[in-house]
Symmetry: none
DNA sequence: GGCGGTTGTAACAAAACTGTCGCGGATCGG
DNA sequence: CCGATCCGCGACAGTTTTGTTACAACCGCC
């Protein structure tokens, strides 16, 4: 199972270190910064799966960071958990309004935070939390690398598996070849963009074995998506 | 945003009431029953958007209800969240194979259940996820590139799609050919201005399939606009 | 080193879409 | 009613985008 990458944005060094330890102890990869501007850069470059964001940080308020994340286009759906000092209803509301997925009020137990992280990941990225993915008639066991259609197991090559997984994590959404290259091959791979087509074809061939309906929709000039 | 209707099938009265309260508190319309047979009837009549189904109910096991829902034709794609007592991997598999969209193992927090409900709805009904454009009887799912009129899907070419999107983002406003050229083709394209007409015609042809009313208004000497 | 399976590319074929033209009907202001 | 525009329509050739196939390089593994 692929480990989820968590970005911690916290400018109080002792607390940052505490969080770092507990989160990585729970089996996540951790990157950290104390600075809001840097956080935005790190999000671009490291593509974390979730951000833990202190409401009160120096260079840029947490709420502003959150707002900017929501305007980042490709990363706009990045889950954010806010750490707030007060539990005032007011703050909770404002936090959720700017697009935080959850919030934790200080003081909190690290264990609780870890639980929340897992819950949010389970909700937003089922695959990283080791659960079963299901879209239509297709099921994928992400821990055992098993894929089935209508209960019938399907044999997939590694790349086909990764493409399918990427699609199943975003069912119905049309993904451009560029997005697929980034998501499946990695951000910095100099692969021909048309190569995506070939693998899509292979994935189709493997999944539509009998005379079954095609599971992948081609959207001209846009990309591919999983059929509902 | 239109409220989603949730059907709860749970035969333990205290738990049913608890669920009822939390789900409706979260802003959903709730209907409930303790009986499997009745659940199927309610689905036919009330057309809920999602079903929360206890694995162990009396008259008909949850798993059997789920199976029948999947054979209901029109309602076959109804999302189902299963409540299971055990967390055995085995049950998870069986649950997903019979067509549940998600499952929650008891004990669970009502908050988590609400999160899952929202997550499943987001996945199955893009209308709730804010990436949906609506103007009159036309809906456009911008993340999945789906366009529908009166619920009927409409097939559009790339340029027609971009024009319609541009229009839907500015409903009612009259846009000159020049504006459309800038907005849809890009500021620096040396396209004949009359080409806009042709694409508008193609868009019309695609959208007014049956004898439906024209969705685009021609404003002589000014341009085009979307009809309200 | 040989082997089965996988991967990235190139090249070609097929399909879908695009832009342009010219014609004729519609509309408008006198 | 008339001329001047403006707009809708059908056709069409050119382009772009996608599907398909074949092939050489590569990989881990024995």
């Amino acid at each position: 199972m692929q480990r989820a990458k968590i970005l911690i944005v916290e400018d109080d060094p002792p607390l940052a270190e505490l969080l770092h330890w507990h989160i990585s102890q729970a089996g996540f990869d951790v990157i950290a910064t104390a600075d809001g501007e840097e956080a935005l850069l790190l999000i671009e470059e490291e593509r974390p799966d979730l951000v833990i964001l202190d409401w009160m940080i120096e260079s840029l308020s947490g709420i502003e960071v959150c707002r900017r994340i929501r305007r980042m286009g490709e990363m706009a759906s990045l889950p954010v958990i806010m750490l707030t000092a007060r539990s005032a209803e007011d703050d909770r509301l404002r936090g959720l309004e700017t697009g935080a997925d959850d919030y934790v009020t200080k003081p909190f137990s690290p264990a609780e935070l870890v639980l929340r992280v897992k819950a949010v990941l389970r909700r937003t990225r089922p695959a990283v939390s080791g659960e079963m993915l299901k879209v239509g008639s297709i099921t994928m066991d992400t821990s055992g690398y098993h894929v089935a259609r209508d209960g019938e197991p399907v044999q997939l090559g590694p790349t086909e598996y990764r493409i399918l997984r990427y699609l199943m994590e975003r069912p119905g959404r049309v993904l451009s070849r560029m997005q697929l290259l980034d998501g499946v091959w990695g951000r910095d791979s100099d692969i021909e963009i048309r190569t995506v087509d070939v693998h899509i074809r292979r994935l189709r061939a493997a999944m539509n074995g009998d005379g079954k309906k095609d599971i992948i929709r081609t959207v001209r000039a846009a990309g591919y998506s999983l059929n509902p």
